[in-house]
């Protein structure tokens, strides 16, 4: 059971966009931005509030890659695997992060909920390939060594 405060926050977010079916995606985006994931209970709540079926809300939420029903780490690391990054060797960066954090293609988030590692198709900073994004900040010209140093720094910051 989610705490009451989650529902109040969701009400607040729904109020920004209006209780209309078209508000579904922006509302889910804001809820996810707030909690770093989309709690299933809230999805049902949103559906009811904006007047669509739970099935519909679920079908939309699962269609888009950005929505996650699982809680993500404090630092969400998106390693760019766009064409420009790929030809400038982004794969070793991803593999180094996986190895360091004990993650894989299947396991995205560390058990201590500190780090989530994902890939993304393009961050639009191709001039500085390979790149990766930590939360909203883009890091340029990555190497496996730089990626590991960054992890160290984030760990120190807690």
């Amino acid at each position: 059971m989610l705490d009451e405060s989650y529902y109040r926050k969701t009400d607040e977010i729904i109020a920004r966009y209006g209780k209309e079916p078209k508000a579904l995606i922006p509302v889910m985006q804001d809820v996810q931005a707030e909690y770093r994931y989309l709690p299933g209970e809230l999805l049902s709540y949103i559906a009811k509030q904006i007047g669509i079926t739970e099935t519909k809300a679920y079908s939309v939420a699962t269609f888009y890659e950005n929505f996650s029903f699982e809680a993500k780490g404090k630092y969400v690391i998106k390693v760019c695997d766009g064409t420009a990054c790929h030809v400038r060797h982004s794969t070793p960066v991803l593999e180094a992060l996986w190895k360091e954090l004990g993650l894989s293609k299947k396991k995205h988030t560390t058990d201590d909920m500190m780090f989530t590692v994902e890939t993304v198709s393009c961050l639009g900073a191709c001039g500085l390939a390979p790149t990766m994004m930590v939360n909203d900040q883009v890091h340029p010209s990555m190497t496996p060594e730089k990626a590991l140093a960054l992890i160290e720094e984030l760990r120190r910051n807690g």
Partner: protein, 629 residues
Amino acid sequence: MIKTVEELVQAQCNACEEIKHYDCRILVCSGTGCIATGSHNIYDIFSKLVKETEGVELVFSPCGGHHDEKAVGVKKTGCQGFCELGPLVRIQKGDRVIQYVKVQPDDCKDILDKSVLGDEVIDRLLYKKGETAYVQPDEIPFIAKQTRIVLENCGKFDAESLDEYMAAGGFSALKKAMFEMTRDEVIDEVDKSGLRGRGGGGFPTGKKWKQVARQKETQRYVVCNGDEGDPGAFMDGSVMEGDPFKLIEGMMIAGYAVRANDGYIYVRAEYPMSVARLRNAITLLEERGLLGDNILGSDFSFHMHINKGAGAFVCGEGSALTASIEGNRGMPRTKPPRTVEKGLWEKPTVLNNVETYANVPKIILQGADWFRSIGTAGSPGCKTFSLTGAIENTGLIEVPMGSTLRQIIFDIGGGLKNGADFKAVQIGGPSGGCLTEEHLDVPLDFDSVKKYNAIIGSGGMVVMGQDTCMVEVARFFMSFTQRESCGKCTPCREGTKRMLEILERIVNGQGKLEDLDTLEELAKMIQTMALCGLGKSAPLPVLSTLATFRDEYIEHIVDKKCRAKQCTALRRYVINPAFCKGCSKCARNCPVNAISGVVKKPYTIDSDKCIKCGACKENCAFDAVYVEA
């Protein structure tokens, strides 16, 4: 508030005056690339330094008031183009501009003392090519050889200031369209200009607007496709970040022309900076009355909305994009009816891409004939490209249609990185193909490259050297489209999966020669049967590499060889006995005990046991381990 034409003209004049009153403007590049290399920190340092230093004063509106000190503005501009050399800073005094590259926090004080307070140029921060150091940005070959229409303002002024946009003549085109032209004349002018959809389709923009204008339904929409999903493309993002007002002005002109009162911009979620700049622009325009009801005292009202994408490439397709704005799964539907008849909420909709709208203001101002004087007869105007990959100067460029790859890659791009040999350039992203040496002099426009199984597409251009495996490139794109296939139609959903399986087999050294025929057969099937543009064009990367680099496919299959040494499974690690000192370090680091030997004598690798992890090569102090292709 700007409620009349006179007030608009007055506001433009005031803005112009303001800019002239600056003694110096420090223009810090604030594109995604430069922000990543720390340009916001540079911006903060300059702002602080200017405030603290005697003799200069940080001002936001220099007009009025007496200034005993030099009036200095610190501005965040759009992409200055040279992404790899960021953070980029320009020091502007009147017409004189100095371009500095790779500006670090420690350099700021120096720049302020020497170039802002004084008139000195700091040599170590200039862009250098060979023996030459360039001071003015316009002299740098990378910039000098471009023609900039859409990007003309990018990097020159504050992307977050409406006044700076107006000082550059912003909203003159809207004024001209609304008060000197009828709606039909606006559409005719765009039609005559020959402007074609810059998102890749190349459909004539004027024709699209005409089709919407003649619909019976009076509720209409203007939608902008800012879902730039092609990996390796960042042109539209740079326009949204660098000149958001121009995009909005273009959409407003479209809205006026087709009698629409609402405009939607769909921006992909990976572009937070674009979203922020557009939001800022819309707020400023609403505050000044340039967006909202009865614009400039007329009966034309226009409201702008922003929708953020949620990570689905297929939403770049028109009907999927409108479905997503409506709050649905972003899946394409069968056409007809087309978007011009039944688009957003089933209403007639003008749907164009960012770059297309950004071309409109200048066409209205300077006329169709001017636009037609640039580019080729079939594809007038310029095209932006993002130049990336194994190239010396990566960055954002704009060139006339009909420019050749040679001009783009070698004259502007400076050739391949570290003087490597050119192999191919991938254009058009996952829907495009590869062009090679023999295509270097083909003029690039919407029609010319189609014969070579490639498309101009939205303008992503990834340059590849000899160390790139073309089979792996085909696999890479197929895995992208397969992952992004929405799953609605069988040819795309199943077809891309089967093609990917075959390609994976080939790069793993398990391919058969028949696979190549099957690939071609599947490709043709998907091209003819898929529901939407994403599916129809998905096989192009495979077809174009098969046509041009068939011998590489055959090498992978028959000889189990990857000449670019990129395909891990086909690599063979070997120890050169001439260099091996027999230190046993490789053997100790091998995770599968595949290396054996006697200390102080050359070791050997058992390739049957080897898992090709490369640990031996990494650990060898004598460079004795090498990869055999």
